[in-house]
Symmetry: C2
């Protein structure tokens, strides 16, 4: 990519333009879907299968968005496979589980909405009602065929509110055994179905703004890398599914509840619908929370498109320590929770002492747990290992860590190892080794939850041990280390929508013709990451509802006549 031929057009003003301004119209369809990832492809497919003409505009040169990088688990309450297997998942139980986690501080089983706002409650009900029928339709149409991950637990499976702790997770059926390529499979099969069924797909089209007719949204203007502007009108509705704002630093810093360094969303997720939706008078909601995960510091700072979130921290003789050489977190926590650890604020010193944690492992974990899947940092020979720091002794390792941190002082507030790092690290290892020998982590309860075993990765075969997440760290080198911080899969705030995807204005009235689904709009999950696939399962359900609601809109003659 050179300056002369950018792959993606630069951002322009999001201020809406009026339909009667005389600009030429390039194309018209019943439904225009913006974004061709895990929300946009299903929305386009559902619309097409209802009989609507569909144009899909994607900003990147290819389809897939963030979902293509994911394992593409999708969490579907009361799904057909559960029902077939006789696993009960009642709506009232589902709602209690999600309410308990989304607003834990106001969860109230006696409240009609369980302590959620009315909006959150109806959105959660919509997930229960529609994720499964949506999923089944995708399967029946051969667009997204799944296999049931009947043993995968929810991320809070042990809570008393979780009455269906396993069984809600599906994955594309052709994904490999470890499931890490699920996103490639799911995007491939949905894209093939979209082409097969006549969806007009236009990549490298960056939607810049809305076209309005008085208060109604009737189209969009997109620009292509050649600098051309394209006006595309919709007879019925525009459905945005353009992802969050992970890669817009200003929005991250001004909206998110933690100072994250970026994340593993597609690089095109720059908050476009925050700006475009705002310009149409949409309310913004849930801006403060994100789908979070640890990320390798160095890849995040470099803005690497191929960066994976650390969804599974492998290794048993492995710990995270902070700049003081202290463990501060259970390294095997589910990723969304693990990511919170980096942002502890020290009101005494005025700093984030855990902003960068250092993953440290020994030769045994290197030999037994290396993998290049799920963002693991213990990688096999031949894999990209620029992030790995090595040392024959702990002293050597610490010197290497200090050098590496110095490179990033400008973006970490000058974070460096404390003078007593090695001594404290030695004491930390000694304490951890005691826990590992007993199989019980007195400090952070490592390995005590089902989800922690799920994401433990491959470890050495030790048939007798009770806790496979821990093993004593060797008292001799070589040792290995890498820098870790907190980031986002993607954000989950944006314009507020009805349960049918209608974008709402400041009085909660739908903005005519404007819909949104996925990470570009406000999630009712608030702070929670309910389970693996709690992103894509609900999104597919909302895409189904939005497509149905948009289909029911009267076709506008103005839009049609203007363009044809």
């Amino acid at each position: 990519m050179t300056q002369e031929t950018p792959q993606i057009a630069a951002r322009e003003s999001a201020a809406p333009v009026q339909i009667d301004d005389g600009a030429p119209v390039d194309a018209v369809a019943d439904i225009v879907v913006v974004g061709g990832g895990g929300g946009g492809l299903p929305a386009a497919l559902f619309s097409r299968w209802l009989g609507d003409e569909v144009i899909l505009l994607e900003k990147a040169p290819e389809l897939g968005g963030t979902a293509r990088k994911a394992a593409f688990w999708y969490w579907v309450p009361n799904n057909a496979a559960m029902r077939a297997a006789g696993v009960e998942d009642r709506e009232e139980d589902f709602l209690r589980y999600v309410a308990r986690l989304s607003r834990p501080h106001q969860y109230d089983p006696a409240s009609p909405t369980l302590g959620l706002s009315e909006w959150e409650y109806t959105m959660c009900k919509a997930v229960y009602e529609s994720a499964s029928p949506a999923t089944e339709l995708l399967r029946e149409q051969d667009a997204l065929v799944y296999r049931h991950c009947e043993g995968v637990p929810d991320y809070w499976a042990e809570l008393p509110e979780d009455k269906a702790p396993t069984g809600r997770v599906l994955v594309p059926s052709d994904a490999r055994e470890t499931m890490s390529d699920g996103g490639q499979v799911g995007i491939r099969t949905m894209s093939a179905a979209a082409r097969r069924d006549g969806i007009d797909i236009r990549t490298s089209h960056r939607v810049q703004r809305l076209v309005t007719d008085d208060d109604a949204v009737v189209g969009v203007e997109a620009s292509t890398p050649d600098g051309m502007s394209h006006r595309v009108l919709a007879r019925k509705a525009i459905i945005f599914a353009t992802g969050g704002f992970t890669h817009d630093k200003e929005l991250r810093q001004n909206f998110l509840n933690m100072p994250v360094f970026g994340g593993c969303a597609a690089l095109t997720n720059e908050g476009d619908f925050i700006r475009i939706g705002s310009s149409a008078g949409a309310q913004l909601r849930n801006l403060n929370y994100a789908w979070m995960c640890p990320i390798p510091l160095e890849s995040a700072v470099a803005g690497r498109a191929d960066m994976s979130g650390m969804f599974s921290v492998a290794g048993d003789s492995m710990i995270f320590v902070n700049k003081h050489g202290k463990r501060v977190v259970n390294e095997k926590l589910q990723y969304n929770e693990l990511a919170q650890a980096f942002f502890t604020w020290d009101p005494q010193t005025g700093e984030y002492p855990n902003l960068v944690l250092i993953q440290i492992w020994d030769q045994a974990s290197q030999a037994n747990s290396a993998s290049d899947e799920y963002g693991r940092l213990i990688v096999p020979p031949g894999a990209d290992d620029d992030h790995v720091i090595t040392g024959a002794t702990l002293e050597e390792l610490a010197a290497g860590i200090a050098d590496r941190l110095a490179k990033y002082a400008g973006v970490t507030g000058g974070l460096k190892l404390s003078d007593d790092f090695v001594d404290t690290l030695r004491a930390t290892i000694e304490r951890f080794n005691g826990f590992a020998a007993r199989g019980v982590d007195d400090d952070f309860h490592r390995g005590e939850r089902a989800v922690q075993l799920l994401f433990n990765g491959v470890v050495r075969d030790e048939p007798e041990r009770g806790n496979p997440t821990m093993w004593p760290i060797s008292d001799s080198g070589p040792y290995y280390a890498a820098l870790v911080t907190g980031g986002t899969l993607d954000t989950k705030g944006g314009p507020k929508t009805s349960p049918d995807g209608q974008v709402l204005d400041d009085m909660d009235r739908p903005i005519p013709g404007l819909y949104g689904v996925g990470n570009c709009v406000a999630s009712a999950s608030a702070q929670a990451y309910w389970a693996g696939g709690a992103t894509l399962g609900p999104i597919i359900g909302f895409a189904y509802r939005a497509a149905n609601a948009a289909h029911a809109e009267p076709a506008r003659q103005t839009a049609a006549s203007a363009g044809t």
Copy 2:
């Protein structure tokens, strides 16, 4: 207040209306200021003194807003009193101090903007340049005469970046010795000046929306409690100074970085300019952070208009414990930092274990430290003490606390005392008493910073002791307790403005005719509470800049002719 005669009109749609819609015009001025508190009164005064005709619209029945409830410290770098006293406060030092605290994780002394964004950096420079001249003009015009609090330290006075650790704080000169009525004094004198100098003040006018002429903002529509709508036009500009969104639960939950229970801002601070500014295409920034303080749980849940934030936690034989009976924080931290402690997330249990902390004190603190100022919970005889729980023994006290917590289970996620609360509390007291006897808090460093002594309140006279913030808690009753949580003075996010108060659209272009200052717009302080008065000092500076920029706008003939 009854249903039939509300004091404040209900919120209506914020969608702008066009000037040419034929609606009658009620009034016209050069400048229309919206909000009559700590931002609006100075903005109106500065405008008037430039020769502009000014109408000031206030939502509440009286002027004052949040500032009237405050001590009205105002933090003014390099102020005239410092200069007169020979205290050096150079711009480059000031900028390092604020950058270090606002974005601590990216503070970089080698960066041209010190790690701040360009916008944040220029906003901070504007504070340094304008807060002092603005302050002096208010003084010269006899609108706000101050006395210099030359000994009051900044909240992070010990940081090496603070080269002027004392001297930046001013307070209205007629405030009492303890300064707690500074807000009443400041609002009274500024209001008197506004009336003296011919500002047209209209209270009980709730601004609902903007009036636009194409893309320019030329007026507002306000409604009064009688249900009437009033169109007020401005020849030059509208300046919003309407406060934050502390009292809009939906906005709090969807924007703030912590699940706060409300706060001590004026009850009229409901985020009006979030909605009105958004509807004009403004970008929103710094939505995630707030000016924070501990608040009494029960007053917050009741939504009491007279609630004060807990700016000074008095008492030496006094501790905060959580539901397990454990101390978790330095009780004497400056309020903004202390408030963070309530929102620690436990990823193991999925709860906020410190969401409600329990202040516990003995008879000695009751006798020596009672006060009804600054939101203190140890109140003197005769004061409102509904929040106080008493017990002759720790067991009796715990029973009272448990009963009280049960009343609030619906809004605290069912928070209750753990079974071993009393045993743990006893051990906690024993440990604290050891610290108190030695004068050193090994766990949380109570009393080690200047600001902690500043806010310690009155304690018994013990000439010999080194640390006046601690004293052993008696081993016999009576004991006292009260429930505390975290809240906001007010929020600090909203539309992004230029350093001259011009509200900016998504391409950082000023929206013609629209200005904003104060807590209704985005603060460049990000997460920081630099010092006491770091709210009002900069706000006065920005009001001065906005008034000057608005004065320089060409007077619109359309607006003038429409209204006269």
